[in-house]
Symmetry: D2
Subunit: 346 residues, 4 copies
């Protein structure tokens, strides 16, 4: 058993971590932090968890370090910049799902997040939280930078094809659809007010969503050619789920079957990434509450482009599930530990 802290335990990511780790056989939830609900018990803030009597505590990095070997951070962009070095210095291993340590190039932070990064050396050290691609480094990492939800869906789908040189890396079109829980629990904007978001579909952050530089970074590492990626995310009326549709230019006339073979090869031993049979397309509903990702690929009849679809749960494989999978890797456990439950369908 290891002692684990959740920083930001009452946001949607944090509550999902409590759910997943609450029945994890090797984890003891030793420190649950909340900014808004300090002193209250989890069961008061989350009445659906009446048996979780643990008290929510303020942010005290020393106490975290005294009591825990691992810390899972689920707070907004920029909030963990100071905390992470303190935890690392005291020997706590950290998985941070904020964007604070995702980008390798420090100059991207002023451009995309409007702050100078105070710890560029940690950017070099942080390992991207996708075990399917980085588990060798995650095993011994001090700092894992879990990815954004769109990024997880995009990299799992596109990385094999870019790595195998099967698509033009400069000509990727990505259309994303997300459920509203991606907006988090604390940001009560009008756009997420039920009467506004219900029965509506719309595009947002067109041409420049913050997950874009992460996606580019992840793909660029796999090819010497310049990666170009046109991305527009959309809000659709559901709570959980990311559906990503990529329109790709196969190189050298590669058929959809060639692309499928590349994906099959890459993921044949993976337990959370599933390539669907030809003609079956993934549904986000299949992934709700899970760490699973479903992929499918086909060909467009008019242009010959390959069409690749990726589905996962933004709070699961796109967030808390990804973090637990990384924790399992760090602990040397089977990666499915605590992540075995399939989606409650329908």
């Amino acid at each position: 058993m290891v002692n684990v802290a959740i920083i930001g335990a009452t946001g949607y990511g944090g509550v999902e971590l409590i759910r997943l780790l609450g029945s994890h056989p090797e984890v003891n939830l030793a420190y649950l932090h909340s900014e808004s609900y300090v002193g209250q018990r989890v069961c008061d803030v989350c009445p659906h968890l009446p048996w979780v009597k643990a008290e929510l505590r303020p942010l005290d990095p020393e106490a975290v370090a005294r009591e825990c070997q691992y810390a899972l951070l689920s707070v907004p962009a920029g909030k963990t910049l100071e905390l992470v070095p303190k935890l690392l210095d005291q020997g706590v291993r950290v998985i941070d799902v904020s964007p604070s340590f995702r980008l390798r190039d420090p100059t991207l932070y002023p451009e995309w997040y409007k702050f100078e990064h105070p710890h560029p050396e940690l950017l070099a050290e942080a390992v991207t939280g996708i075990p399917e691609w980085h588990r060798e480094r995650i095993v011994s990492a001090r700092l894992v930078a879990a990815t954004g939800c769109y990024t997880a869906a995009a990299l799992l789908a596109l990385a094999p094809l870019v790595a195998d040189g099967l698509i033009e890396p400069a000509d990727i079109v990505l259309d994303g659809k997300t459920g509203v829980s991606g907006a988090g629990r604390t940001s009560l904007k009008l756009a997420y007010h039920y009467p506004e978001a219900d029965e509506d579909a719309s595009a947002y952050s067109v041409g420049g969503h913050r997950h874009l530089p992460e996606m580019l970074q992840g793909l660029q590492a796999l090819t010497p050619s310049k990666v170009g990626l046109a991305f527009a995310p959309h809000l659709v009326p559901m709570t959980r789920g990311i559906l990503l549709t990529a329109y790709l230019a196969p190189t050298g006339g590669a058929a959809a079957e060639t692309l499928r073979a590349s994906l099959a090869r890459r993921y044949q031993d993976e337990l959370f990434v599933h390539l669907l049979p030809s003609g079956v397309w993934p549904h986000t509903k299949w992934t709700a509450g899970t760490n699973h990702c479903f992929l499918a690929v086909g060909t467009d009849r008019s242009t010959g482009r390959a069409v690749l679809v990726s589905a996962l749960d933004n709070l699961g494989k796109g967030m808390a599930g990804q973090m637990v999978q990384c924790l399992n890797v760090m602990l040397g456990l089977p990666e499915t530990t605590g992540l075995g439950m399939p989606a409650a369908y329908p």
Copy 2:
């Protein structure tokens, strides 16, 4: 006042026509046909219309021709092949929203609809039901082929840019999202069962949706270059609405502003097509129950592609609203007659 028949009055398109034409000042709903509910009154089948006591009648082309000058057909693909020539022969002007007369090239029917077209001469005569582009011919048309819902959204958005030569016509990517009412009222498939469609997003008919040849035909008419269009439609959990996101390669480095100017010029006098200010993106909710279409355009930061979004109601501008607008054109009335009510928001 003219007498109008609705063929297929109890499907979603038909009921929407009853709604719109019920308060149209120049139309008398003289003949309401239904296959499934012959002999019942509209108010029995549609209890939300308790004041519509008219009886639903079987399909009798002679009676339609005796009693009506106009017929609006809202039945599935192929069902109107026999009916339309009969009505035309007897002097009835027809607006058909089925695909039966949409494609100019008869060889496309075996390929896309699995039947030989029995009346290729009518394919040559039929006018596409988009008044913004074809009103001069609709005025005097005997047969208007109303378009599919995706097609309406796509042509309104893309046609000006193709016509003005501002985008590479061979390199269009179109990502569609539709509400479930597009599946109609009679097709009770598992995919549209509430527990399946709710809280779910998925792709379908990837690479070869039946609206594709219509879209290609509409755009190809505007340019000598070959049009290529990669299209994947998606089902999202809402009842009404089409949102279409196009990723375009501007020619000669045309900026988004150039594209915007083209759209602005084309639609400045149109009452149902609205170009949004820069940075505002359309919501399908704005269009529910209406004949309006909203457009917006921007630039992708990574690739320089233009991103163009189009929103409309699949049962409105994508179906019944389009038909009523065409009817108004045929009648020489202001096109907004009977179509004035904005969306009930939220």
Copy 3:
């Protein structure tokens, strides 16, 4: 044509008034007030109304009085207490949908709304905004107090039965279900955040909702016996709609048919209240965006209680539609003026 002011034009009630009155043949929207968006145009705040260029103005009662003969007030409880007397003094006729003037008994305000009522004389003068029951007084009223949405649904359903002495007035059970738009546009509470309200049903304000004293007042006026009404409202995941189910103890063994006859008699000439055939139960979807109310009645098999169901749109007959209907009465117009459009179904 009369000049009309909307006070609170950018809330959900206000926007619905703009929608309904925008095509009203006898109304000129002369003054549109907004607290949050002063100086902006309606089309900037409501991009789905691009043709409404009118500027939103601050609250200036003198200007309202100078420019308008009628004012429709759609702002929260208590906000109109000062405004209404000023408008009345200057000859403006007022329809106020806030609770400020709904209760006849001034002592109920401290109890239910936590303020002393400053104008008890106006409470005596105000007329309840249900034309089906009060149109004779509305015709000449200076001040109409439009009812709450639950109240409209409850009074239309229960009033005939209480008035005819067919049910035990002390033994009424009312179970309400509402869509989330009833919470308004400005109250961004966590409970109405899409991920919380979606896929959820819950009770709230159990045993003491603020609409209760209005309902009791409306029914008590019809019977010398003491009225007792157990009421629990529920939030269900939809945007519009109120569904109210009443469980009633018929007096003297009155059958459901007797109750039905009472309702039929009372509403046979009404254009907005529809009694359904036996065995057909109303759907809120039938009422979306309209001023219609549907009623149905049956008998419980185990207890012999009558079960009465009432459905309407909380923003329609429960708010803006009710106000427009009252305005029509005050103007001596047909009550359906501007309210003719049926629900966009589905």
Copy 4:
């Protein structure tokens, strides 16, 4: 390890059983039956379970008996009448969630289900599947009749109060709201077509739902006084969840606190039934995918009636979860085995 058969493995109840039992440490899913998909593998019918390769088999009671010690039946009313005696005769212990063996009194079957019951002796033997009330008999039962979803919610809420004589048993009003998955997977009725059920609330089976006799039977067993229960169920637009609101007449002026104390006493040691603090009301969303039931009680201000609310997942505690809990009891295991995962919130 015991071998378990699921009869009806591809309906919503069956799929939920596969999900729950798939990770149950003491259960081997040895026989998966399906009527519609014989010969296909589970992963073909349920692509979200790509690792479940088991083949779906036809109904062969002898094979079931040869291979399994337990059979969980999840098929519609009446379908298990022949099967159950065969299985019992061969020593298989059965949990049947159909209504076939729920009612003690055989004369109720012709009245409510339109068939003569062929095995009245089994009606006497069958034990109601609510462990909180019947676990002593379930331990050794050959045949457990799992209850309907409304019945589970109603009995858990009302039974303590009836047993303790705290409410008038003849004067119970029960208002139910259910998600659409209660309609099952195979019944593709128009009422459950997404565009119809979405954004809608309606009552159905008013005054005589089939779960009524079960509820009456369960409560009548606890009191010598006649039980009377007015019940109207409603469909609301969500996939999972039952919310039941009971309006009760406390005896001898019992306060809500007295009722609360009765519930607290009864369920203090139960792990799946949770009494909420005063003023907190349950949400169905808290229960999605789980075997939990939440209860809360308060007082109506106008009539003094007690208001009691009960929430559970119709496919969980109302169906598959209930069956697994019963199985655990029969196996002598902790009742939470395989049922530990809390709801994925939100």
